[in-house]
């Protein structure tokens, strides 16, 4: 009897443990796969960046370390180009202007389209994504005559913001659309209207604060785009940071300041990303 019982009992735990064992093995394999993919891609992206950082710290003799290139960022001036610092300043100003104009144009327009002219949303999406499909050279050819006219009034590289707003449109639009899609815009605006809010109040005090994450993402994408843009500035003969670095590298190929400035720009973007994602998370946690 005991033998029968033991025979009857033995397979049960085995049968029960088998799927669980398979599950554990599969999970372990997935985990390993995840780590491998993460490491390969991490190295793929990090190695060039680390190499750039290393070059920026290269001393006068090969294989030595020095902070000279970093110190030069503030004072470097290449042959036949303006001081590096002024192009950094102008690029940062350009980034701020582009971000402000892009958000000031897109946020109210998108909210308005969502609330009042929903039938226009497809057209707006199409128009916003259009700059992605147009090659930079085509844009430059198209914008050439306009910039000829602009240059009659101002030669400042800040005038690049007109074209940068167009370039940032697809990225900012997608980020804001995601933010807008995450809230019930219609109900919130109707609730605010019934409480006596004007359309302006609805946009500024009710909808925009709830799109905070989308706005921050749009800001970051626009900022990154302006910081790294080279082609259009170069072709329209303006001097922003990327063009300046290119000019320095052509005149003095071993200038460590190219690498230190590029690394600094990258670090700046990373810090901004961290700040923005922290700001977004803090608000989510609170509200």
């Amino acid at each position: 009897m005991a033998a029968v019982t033991s025979v009857g009992e033995t397979p049960a735990p085995a049968a029960a443990s088998r799927p669980s064992g398979m599950h554990t093995r599969r999970r372990r394999r997935l985990k390993v796969f995840r780590y491998v993919v993460f490491t390969v891609f991490g190295l793929f992206f990090l190695l060039p960046l680390l190499a750039m950082a290393r070059f920026s710290l290269e001393g006068a003799k090969l294989g030595t370390w020095s902070g000279t290139a970093w110190k030069q960022i503030a004072s470097y001036q290449g042959e036949g180009v303006p001081p590096l610092l002024s192009s950094i300043e102008i690029t940062l100003e350009l980034a701020v202007i582009t971000c402000v104009v892009t958000l000031a144009l897109l946020v109210p327009t998108m909210i308005w389209v969502r609330l009042r002219v929903q039938w226009l949303s497809r057209t707006m999406e199409f128009l916003s994504l259009l700059p992605l499909t147009i090659p930079a050279i085509v844009l430059v050819v198209g914008l050439g005559p306009i910039y000829n006219r602009i240059q009659h009034y101002s030669l400042s590289a800040l005038m690049l913001f007109w074209v940068y707003v167009i370039l940032a449109l697809p990225y900012a639009y997608r980020a804001l659309a995601a933010g807008l899609g995450a809230i019930d815009v219609k109900t919130l605006s109707e609730a605010a209207r019934s409480l006596g809010a004007s359309w302006f109040t609805v946009m500024v005090r009710v909808i925009s604060p709830n799109m905070r994450q989308g706005i921050l993402n749009a800001l970051l994408l626009t900022w990154s785009l302006v910081l790294g843009e080279f082609t259009i500035a170069f072709l329209l003969l303006y001097n922003n940071l990327s063009v300046e670095l290119y000019s320095i590298s052509r005149n003095t190929p071993n200038a460590g300041v190219i690498f230190s400035t590029s690394t600094a720009a990258l670090l700046f973007a990373f810090v901004l990303l961290l700040i923005l994602s922290y700001a977004g998370r803090t608000r989510r946690g609170r509200g």
Binding site: L188, E190, A191, A192, S194, L195, S198, R286, G287
Partner: protein, 372 residues
């Protein structure tokens, strides 16, 4: 929870008149020359199936949509072309509408802030309103930290905080579970009576409408089929649509003869006495059907049948009886129904309440056992 004394009849209640109101969405007629008057301090519930125009009526009154024709007056003032922001109406929505980035207190004070009320007074009023809905303890929480029922109570407090002339409730309970819905329904009624505000309540739930309203308006295809107190709508429906929509009805084939209808051997008075003689379908409420006696196995008769299902509803139970050619629902006291089991043979009786009949309906379909 204590009602703040300041909130009682905060303003003199006003009359609301909707006259000849029409609204079309392309070829679809959402509202068809509707006339509706809400007496001062009255709560009217608009009831009807989806697409009947009840929400459109409320949205036109709120100013969230424009009427094609007609006039809206509140307290004698024509507000037909006044924007939603200036209509002075509090509204609670079906979807959760609290502003997610504001605390409960800030949400309630939002309307007051727009009216430039001082911070101290805003805060005092917000707490009074939260006290009224029993949520003053949660004042500093964010909406996502509240349950659905709590969020709707805050929305109610927010709507009332601005001391509106009219309160509009657009299916505010439909997203809640049954228990919370019943609690909040009673709470809304208590607060509405306490504040004494003229209120329009839109719902598709007949039980909710009948329980909460002074008068119920049953709508169909953009028109009001009947506007009457709940008991009248239920016991003396004006049309067969109202009879079918409000409460369950048995559809039984009958014969009209000289102002009365004969249904399975029972003579019943008619609501509309001038109905012409002929075959009809009579709408008989389950509570008008009672158990006359237990029948022997071989017994037969027009109201003799076999119990096929018993549904426990609490104090009453719904018993479905197969009469051979049709099925009839009877609502019996649970004590009486518990003596029955599926398969029991019974004899039913029909109380001689006035009944509505559908003249154009197919008696054959009724005989097949349709219940609505």
């Amino acid at each position: 929870m204590t009602a703040a004394p300041e909130t009682k009849a905060a303003r003199t209640a006003v009359e609301v008149r909707l006259e000849d109101l029409s609204r079309h969405y392309g070829p679809v007629v959402a509202l068809d020359h509707l006339d509706l008057t809400l007496e001062p301090g009255e709560l009217i519930a608009l009831l009807g199936p989806s697409g009947c125009g009840k929400t459109t009526t409320l949205r036109l009154l709120a100013g969230l949509e424009d009427a094609d024709t007609g006039q809206i007056t509140v307290g004698g003032r024509d507000i037909t072309h006044v924007s939603a922001a200036k209509r002075d109406m509090g509204m609670v929505f079906q979807a959760y509408s609290l502003f997610p980035h504001m605390t409960v207190r800030q949400n309630v004070a939002f309307g007051l802030r727009l009216r430039k009320v001082s911070a101290a007074q805003r805060d005092k009023r917000a707490l009074e309103m939260l006290d009224l809905v029993g949520l003053s303890v949660q004042a500093d929480r964010y909406p996502h930290q509240l349950s659905g029922g709590q969020q709707q109570r805050v929305a109610l407090a927010r709507a009332l905080a601005i001391e509106p002339q009219v309160l509009l409730l657009d299916e505010p309970l439909s997203a809640l579970d049954a228990k919370v819905r019943a609690q909040l329904r009673d709470e809304i009624r208590r607060i509405q009576l306490d504040v004494g505000i003229t209120t329009l309540f839109v719902t598709h739930d007949q039980e909710e409408a009948l329980a909460i309203a002074d008068r119920v308006g049953v709508m169909r295809e953009g028109r009001l089929e009947q506007l009457a107190p709940p008991t009248e709508v239920y016991s003396r429906p004006a049309t067969s649509f109202v009879a079918e929509f409000v409460g369950l009805s048995n559809r039984l084939a009958g014969e009209v003869r000289s102002g009365e209808v004969i249904v399975r051997g029972c003579t019943l008075p008619l609501v509309e006495r001038d109905t012409p003689d002929g075959s009809v379908v009579a709408l008989v409420r389950p509570e008008a059907v009672s158990l006359a006696s237990r029948a022997p196995e071989s017994g037969s008769g027009p109201l003799t049948g076999t119990v096929i299902a018993i549904t426990f509803l609490g104090a009453t139970s719904r018993v479905t009886v197969d009469l051979g050619d049709t099925r009839v629902m009877a609502q019996l006291p649970t004590s009486e129904a518990s003596a029955l089991t599926a398969g029991s043979r019974v004899v039913l009786a029909i109380r001689p309440d006035p009944v509505l009949v559908s003249v154009g309906a197919d008696p054959a379909a009724a005989a097949a056992g349709e219940e609505v």
